[in-house]
């Protein structure tokens, strides 16, 4: 248990290592999106009533708010995976793959949170994801 998964070359990452990092980040976006839905549900006034609460009862309300706690647990897993993935690639290149999360969050918001779907939102998300993909290409033009 004294070692962490690591490539022999820490700083000069190979193409294979970068690709591995990209795949790791992409699969983590599912966790990231589920975390957002859980946090949103946990923060809703129905789950977390903050009115007239002192600090102690507020902290107690937060740590016993299971969707919020579960959401942050997912978010924590997502963050740890990011740390490992970020070792392998350029920040501006690995980070944007997280953009897939925008698609999952939007779809899950429509489905589970009954947000109002419309074409402005859909087009906006598509353009954001395209923008992030192009931004990721920027690392190649050196």
């Amino acid at each position: 248990m004294s070692t962490i998964p690591s490539s022999p070359k820490l700083h000069a990452s190979s193409a294979a290592a970068r690709q591995r990092a990209a795949i790791t980040v992409a699969s983590c976006t599912i966790f990231g999106a589920v975390a957002q839905i859980l946090i949103k549900v946990g923060m809703s006034p129905a789950h977390l009533d903050t009115t007239g609460k002192g600090l102690v009862s507020l902290v107690l309300a937060v740590i016993t708010d299971w969707p919020l706690v579960a959401g942050y647990a997912c978010y924590g897993l997502f963050t740890v995976a990011m740390v490992l993935a970020l070792r392998e690639g350029e920040l501006s290149k690995v980070y944007p793959i997280i953009a897939l999360t925008y698609v999952w969050v939007t779809l899950l918001s429509y489905w589970l949170l009954k947000d109002t779907p419309n074409w402005y939102k859909n087009a906006g998300i598509a353009i954001i994801v395209l923008g992030v993909a192009i931004l990721g290409q920027g690392g190649e033009q050196e």
Binding site: L91, I128, G131, G138
Partner: protein, 118 residues
């Protein structure tokens, strides 16, 4: 657009800025990792995680007051800051592709904002 919606959007935008600093410190910390598990205990990684946590508190307060399908996309505005910090701290080049990508992100966020008031 109600005042509550503006407040929610402001909180999420601020969270995105704090989060962009978080990524920088996570990257700095991650570069210092070696084969020892103890290398996870380094000041930059801890600061990075701390900034992420702080960011998520503002974010959680923000999404309380509006639709997630509108507020979550605002997080993408953090890329603007990430690009600048990547140049300053890691000397990563700002290329035309990156600038074009950022412009598209701004257009996308604008459209999602328009969708919010429908």
């Amino acid at each position: 657009m109600t005042p509550l919606m503006w407040r929610s959007m402001g909180l999420v935008f601020f969270a995105a800025i704090v989060g962009s600093f978080g990524s920088v410190f996570l990257k700095m910390g991650a570069l210092r990792l070696n084969k020892s598990i103890l290398s996870f205990v380094n000041s930059r990684l801890i600061l990075g995680v701390g900034l992420y946590l702080a960011s998520s508190v503002f974010y959680a307060m923000g999404i309380r007051g509006g639709e997630l399908s509108v507020l979550y996309p605002l997080v993408s505005l953090g890329y603007i800051f990430t690009l600048v910090w990547s140049k300053i701290f890691f000397n990563e080049p700002i290329t035309r592709y990156k600038v074009a990508g950022l412009c598209l992100i701004l257009v996308g966020v604008f459209l999602v904002g328009v969708g919010a008031s429908r």
